[in-house]
């Protein structure tokens, strides 16, 4: 079933892709133009996706409830990190990221926090102090 659904999804994306390509026109440039290559890619992709819908190959077992929840939590942590990195500044955000991911991976909370703080500080020293990459210690949330 999953394979069929994926086939449908890929078919729709490829169809939209090939359809959109027809709008790309240029009166100058070369013989090929900007739309031919996307159409050449999109049409076989549609055909292959359709064949997966009709003759699906293989089976997929998705993770069960609690595992799925852990994955969702980890993803949420990654997105929140990207959102808050520039606001909190590198060391605080990274310490939180490392600690949270470690706890989601069944690490003991105390030690996870310790690794988070130690890991993020050493990475900050490495990247900011030694390599000179511009990474702020405190983010816009603190400095203004």
């Amino acid at each position: 079933m999953s394979i069929r659904l994926a086939g449908v999804a890929i078919f729709l994306v490829a169809a939209l892709y090939a359809w959109t390509a027809q709008d790309y026109t240029a009166s100058f440039g070369d013989v090929l133009g900007p739309s031919v290559f996307p159409v050449m890619v999109g049409i076989p992709a549609m055909a292959l996706a359709l064949s997966l819908v009709v003759f699906p190959g293989g089976t997929v077992s998705w993770p069960s409830g609690d595992r799925l929840l852990r994955q969702a939590m980890a993803l949420a942590a990654l997105v929140v990190y990207a959102l808050l990195l520039e606001r909190l500044g590198f060391p605080i955000a990274t310490a939180a990221l490392i600690a949270v991911v470690a706890i989601i991976l069944d690490g003991p909370p105390g030690k996870s926090l310790l690794i988070g703080v130690a890991g993020s500080l050493s990475l900050w020293v490495l990247f900011d102090q030694l390599l000179g990459l511009p990474i702020d210690f405190l983010g816009s949330f603190f400095t203004g």
Binding site: A14, A26, L83
Partner: protein, 501 residues
């Protein structure tokens, strides 16, 4: 003689202090990355690429570092295969079959030594092959015109998924998805924005490096969260570190056979180290398994796949350097790095940047010796580091991936792109769609379109030019033959039932 002077140039590059230091670090880090279950050559190399940019290394230094890591992984993967019965990375799967039984019988020291020596022999055979054959292939490739390159790319996409056990439709679909992603951004010939949705962030297209780190590192985290983490057997303790020379000598022929088979598998497009190990093991089993000892701790069953995966990984560098078409997942990732540094591999690379090519080759000879030293006398160090629990290691890997990607352009937009590719990679891998063709499509898409453009503007729009030379016709015929063979193998396996793998 020409090769000797080229090698002399290579060693003068490889012996520069920075390159030596990177080589040593790469060998050490690679062995460790290979030994850690969950981290393999592809994601190890992918995570390191943004870091090499951050350090400001040039192409030669970066390539030396990444190749050392790549080679180190091939050595390191065997350690956890033998001691934990968990392959440290994918190519080391075959080593568990006889390596773990040997360790259970108190032969762990022998198994580690045999596999270390076999790795060394395998890699050496392949590096000698690389030295001899890569320049020849590059010289032949000079005759390729734009239409021939287009045909070569078509063949690379069709064949990179490998032969056995893969649905060829999924492989092709993966490549096409990669090509679709590659067209996002401003069209290089006409300057028209394609598939950007009006977002200026996408005008430069998707940075392949950002996509790669997401596809491999973030999706690996998702897989790790899916598996049970705690049910891992304790590592087998070693009673002695001293191997017996007699047992090692007994595997000499198995090692040589494994090395040759692996090298051939590596040079072929799409096979890579995993298939090299599988082929070496199955051929060795057919040749030597007279008393049914394979699978129960036969030393030759350890030597052959280890020689095979090391020589395949070095062999896979040949098509990557001389044609610009990688032979495996990890070399595809290394190609991404070279393209990002404005180095276009291919036949002209050998003429224009001999210091890069030969510096790399010379470094590989030295890396191999360093790795043998790291992996025989110093093996105890790695078995101790392997005890680091996953929950403390993986978060650090994730943090390093984020810093690396952020440091490329100092924008959080790239972080979202990376996370999105992580989810995409996870879903595709769950659907049994391999990611390597997608990466290849993403990398070569622009060049493929350019070659098509060039061919058509030479012919004035006549599509007949695509099959006008015998090179392109031969490449298309080879592609069709390959696809037919893999469809036939797939149908045959289905008739035999799902038990046959």
């Amino acid at each position: 003689m020409e090769i000797l002077s080229s090698l002399a140039l290579g060693f003068s590059v490889a012996l520069q202090p920075l390159h030596l230091a990177l080589l040593l670090f790469g060998c050490f880090a690679g062995t460790l990355i290979g030994a850690m279950p969950g981290l393999g050559p592809v994601n190890g190399v992918a995570i390191l690429i943004p870091l090499t940019f951050a350090f400001g290394f040039d192409a030669t230094a970066s390539l030396i570092l990444l190749s050392a890591v790549y080679f180190g992984c091939m050595y390191g993967g065997r350690i956890s295969s033998i001691l934990l019965n968990i392959p440290g990375d994918e190519p080391a799967v075959m080593t568990t079959l006889d390596g773990y039984p040997m360790a259970q019988q108190g032969q762990a020291a022998n198994a580690l030594a045999i596999s270390g020596v076999a790795s060394f022999v395998g890699a050496t055979v392949a590096i000698v092959g690389l030295t001899l054959f890569a320049p020849l292939l590059a010289r032949a490739a000079i005759y390729f015109g734009p239409a021939d390159y287009f045909a070569l790319y078509v063949m690379a996409f069709a064949t990179i998924g490998g032969l056995a056990g893969v649905d060829p439709r999924k492989t092709l679909l993966s490549a096409l998805i990669g090509l679709m992603i590659a067209t996002i951004g401003l069209d290089p010939a006409t300057g028209i924005p394609r598939y950007t949705g009006g977002s200026f962030n996408l005008y430069d297209g998707i940075d392949p490096i950002v996509a790669l780190v997401g596809l491999f590192a973030i999706s690996e985290l998702m897989f790790l969260l899916e598996r049970a983490i705690k049910d891992r057997d304790a590592a087998i303790r070693l009673t002695t570190w001293i191997p017996e020379a007699k047992v090692i000598l007994g595997t000499a022929w198995a090692t040589v056979r494994g090395a040759v088979v692996g090298f051939v598998a590596g040079v072929l497009p799409g096979a890579g180290a995993s298939l090299g190990a599988v082929m070496s093991y199955s051929i060795e089993k057919q040749v030597s398994n007279k008393n049914g000892t394979f699978g129960k701790g036969d030393p030759r069953g350890v030597a052959a796949p280890e020689a095979g995966n090391n020589s395949a990984s070095a062999g896979a560098l040949i098509p990557m350097l001389s044609l610009g078409v990688p032979g495996s997942g990890t070399t595809a990732v290394m190609l991404a790095m070279l393209i990002s540094l404005n180095v276009q591999p291919g036949p002209l690379l050998f003429e224009r940047q001999p210091d890069l090519v030969w510096g790399l080759v010379a470094s590989l000879y030295m890396a191999n010796v360093m790795l043998l030293i790291l992996n025989l006398p110093l093996i105890g160090l790695f078995t101790r580091l392997m005890a680091i629990p996953t929950w403390s290691l993986m978060p650090l890997v994730v943090a390093i991936s984020f810093i690396g990607v952020y440091s490329i352009s100092n924008s959080t937009f790239d972080l979202y792109v990376m996370i999105a590719f992580g989810v995409l990679g996870y879903i595709l891998r769950k659907l049994d769609i391999t990611l390597v063709p997608l990466v290849l499509g993403l990398l070569l898409g622009a060049d493929m379109e350019n070659n098509l453009r060039r061919a058509l503007s030479i012919s004035g729009g006549d599509y007949g030019v695509l099959v006008a030379s015998w090179i392109s016709v031969a490449l298309y015929l080879a592609t069709v033959a390959f696809l037919a063979l893999s469809i036939w193998l797939g149908l045959r396996d289905r008739k035999r039932g799902p038990a046959a793998e």
